[in-house]
Symmetry: C2
Subunit: 487 residues, 2 copies
């Protein structure tokens, strides 16, 4: 099938992953780059935004079922608030956009466009929490944030403004806060695995790479096709450090004042970048049926004398699917031939195509084609709205299996500095290895290769042998470390 | 029933509407004022945000059913873009917050925090529209915007940052754009009438009060209890002026280049302010069951020896309501007596209260009490999940009827300048009167009384007599004008 060059993807996923990604994002109609003077910003087009809405809805439902309420805090944060957070939180020094003027007047104090909101949320949590009866307190905010980092723009991965959610909670005990931390990590993992068809690794960040001030930072990591890891969502157990600094205290059952144990957790539209990057191919966007704006496209194939019967049959199929709650598009445009339409809908990532021509009409059948592998089967017209669900499941399973296989093939073991460097240098992906917990043993990998420890699995998921030694220094190992290059 | 002073409302809706409103907003847990250095901003608490989410969901579903897609445009707009809009649109000169620095560097061009987004949306609509086949194009954005107006803060009515949606569409013909304009106005009206229990007036703004550059500005107006009108949502037919300025053109079926006809329409969280203001009373927040976060609160009434049976009965009722999809809260707190709970849930605006004590248990009944009028009835325990729906309908009908009656009583006719001034001065509300269409005939009302023409009904809704003359100048009348003070 010949490819329309203007419409189609010209770059190769394998050879030029970055350019290919940028091309898919734009040609599939997901986003545009912002105009001159606004580099680092993007325009999220309806097709891209619909995907983000699906991610939002999936997580928002999970959050609400588990006691989270949404709230909205101001877009701006006074400089003194950020300074206060800097004092509290060693290492916190975000680059931000500064508002200095309101109307024609200079402001007395500069306002930061929020880079993250804990410095304005925490003081209000302190007001709202009085007694142990007010706990747990869980608030979440869906919002845009701005970080003024000068890097190459990569839509959904690296932009100065991005969309995300940040959740903030307060609890009576350390264990309650830990349970909360893991609940949110589980929800992130399940969103990736059950909505986006992306298997993830989970674990905690090394102590020296935690969120500043956190007791523990947990993460889900996804492997991208270029062999790099994406930090796909993080959930922080903050201990009592934020509570002490911002005075989030409660009176316990004995009327004693106690510091609360807090958490925060966030996931951004980087998840959308991971979705696009993971499944798409040289024909364009590939989406799992769970999230595709159109799950099925019907392409009618007619000659002049068969147009009426083909169209009428196709419309009947469309109606039946719609009535069953399936997102379906009938492409009855007369100015394009079926081949053009196949290419266009492949580019746009529709997971299931129905081809309907005179033969299908005569046989009361439908030709069903899967994206991305082109597998084609015939289904009876009768009961198609049920049968198509099985096709969705099959397509989802294929996408997931491919990603899972890629992940499994790209977790390798190594037990020396040279082997770690050599393995990541040659294959990318993850190298897992016993580690002593010392930052200097990470540095010797990081410096030559920009690969770092992206996570250490939880003991419950992957226990370390008692007698394991650090692959780098040979001292007693305390954790298993996953090294990888990352975004 | 004695009122807890700390908890309860101390101001009077009738006598101090402004103070009463601020107290309800804060004590019902809807919003807090932002801290020093951030005057004009508010913290939207979960209870307030949940109401905004309901409004969003209601409108978003309507929009999507009628062909609108959501998108997301950058938070910032280069100064040159706003200047361009100023050149195009006489009278457009918003006070904005200016970002002048990113990180440690001064920006080459200042960026405005968006006060509204047409100047960045329109250039992209111009890119996306090529052919008549791309029309209609409909995009909507849910976002926060900032207008640096120095006025007394009034949560949801007057804040420097506010949440809203702005829709932007392009069409082939003038009539298509008009149909779009009215579709959105109808949807706003229906949201007010069917979700918020607020009847509205609808019509168009006088020519001199249109959105700058618009062909027609249409509005829905709601009457507040202090006799002022709130512009509750606007929908603009922009003609071809924006399309010409921003080059939103398409090739028609004959391959001729044509300017598109565009619309824009917006509704903000002011709708939430109108909701709170309209129904609430001196006991606190009043919400229709359609939008109340808790539709029913169950207050158990026990003595020590009846606690177990009462609670168990109440829990059974709660479960049955939950299973039926009803939002229900069981207030089983031991540290508060029933009277305290009644007051607290009245303050918070729960529309239906179930009282369950030993008598209810014995008789297999439930005492059902309505907010705000305290009407109390007994219902059989059996079938309560169905019976409560009737109560929701009754409460909704009562709230709507009260608001409708208030509106009907406060639309008065007058046929001279003195009568208009006297009527609004004495009663507030609306005065309807024939008008010649000349701004100077509005000015003579506006100057002494700050009352203006808030809308002129559409001919289809309310036709003018052929021989009517302007009440102010005595010339031929062209429209019916509704004068009112407004927010």
């Amino acid at each position: 099938m010949s490819k329309n060059q203007e419409l189609g993807i010209t770059e190769s996923k394998e050879h030029n992953t970055g350019e290919w990604y940028a091309e898919v994002v734009q040609k599939a109609g997901l986003a545009n780059y912002a105009p001159e003077g606004m580099s680092g910003f993007i325009i999220t087009r309806p097709r891209g935004y619909a995907l983000w809405e699906s991610i939002q809805q999936n997580l928002d439902a999970k959050f609400k079922k588990t006691g989270v309420q949404n709230a909205y805090f101001p877009l701006f944060i006074p400089e003194s608030y950020l300074e206060r957070e800097k004092d509290i939180v060693e290492g916190f020094d975000p680059e931000v956009a500064w508002v200095t003027h309101g109307g024609h007047d200079e402001l007395e104090e500069r306002l930061a466009v929020r880079p993250t909101s804990e410095s304005i949320i925490a003081p209000y949590m302190a007001q709202w929490v009085r007694s142990h009866r007010d706990l747990p307190l869980r608030v979440n905010q869906w919002a845009s944030v701005v970080r003024w980092e000068a890097t190459d723009t990569k839509p959904f991965f690296r932009t100065k403004e991005f969309l995300w959610q940040e959740g903030h909670t307060a609890h009576e005990t350390h264990d309650d806060a830990w349970e909360e931390t893991i609940t949110r990590l589980d929800q992130y993992q399940s969103m990736y695995e059950d909505l986006l068809a992306i298997p993830v690794l989970r674990g905690q960040k090394p102590d020296h790479d935690k969120f500043p001030g956190a007791h523990t930072t947990t993460t889900v990591e996804a492997l991208m096709p270029d062999g790099k890891s994406v930090q796909a969502g993080t959930s922080h157990h903050l201990g009592t450090s934020f509570a002490e600094a911002f005075d989030i205290t409660y009176s316990d059952e004995d009327d004693e004042i106690q510091a609360a144990h807090t958490t925060s957790w966030g996931l951004s539209w980087r998840s959308l970048g991971a979705l696009i990057m993971t499944h798409s191919d040289d024909q364009g966007l590939v989406l799992p049926p769970t999230i595709a704006p159109e799950q099925v496209v019907i392409v009618p194939i007619w000659q002049e004398d068969t147009q009426e019967e083909v169209l009428s049959y196709a419309e009947g199929v469309k109606k039946e699917l719609e009535d069953a709650g399936i997102r379906v598009e009938l492409d009855a445009r007369e100015q394009h031939n079926p081949g053009f339409k196949f290419n266009e809908w492949e580019l746009k990532g529709v997971p299931v195509r129905f081809e309907i021509g005179p033969y299908e009409v005569a046989d009361e059948e439908i030709t069903v084609v899967h994206r991305p592998d082109g597998e084609s089967t015939k289904e009876d017209r009768d009961g198609i709205a049920e049968a198509v669900i099985d096709h969705f499941d099959e397509v989802y399973a294929k996408l997931y299996a491919t990603a899972e296989e890629n992940l499994a093939e790209n977790v390798r073991e190594a037990d020396s500095r040279e082997e770690i460097l050599g393995t990541i240098g040659q294959h990318g992906g993850y190298v897992k290895t016993p580690w002593c917990g010392d930052e200097s043993c990470e540095d010797v990998i990081k410096e030559p290769l920009s690969a770092e420890i992206v996570m250490c699995p939880f003991d419950d998921d992957e226990a370390l042998d008692d007698d394991a030694v650090c692959s780098i220094c040979g001292e007693q190992a305390t954790q298993t470390a996953y090294f990888a290059k990352n975004y």
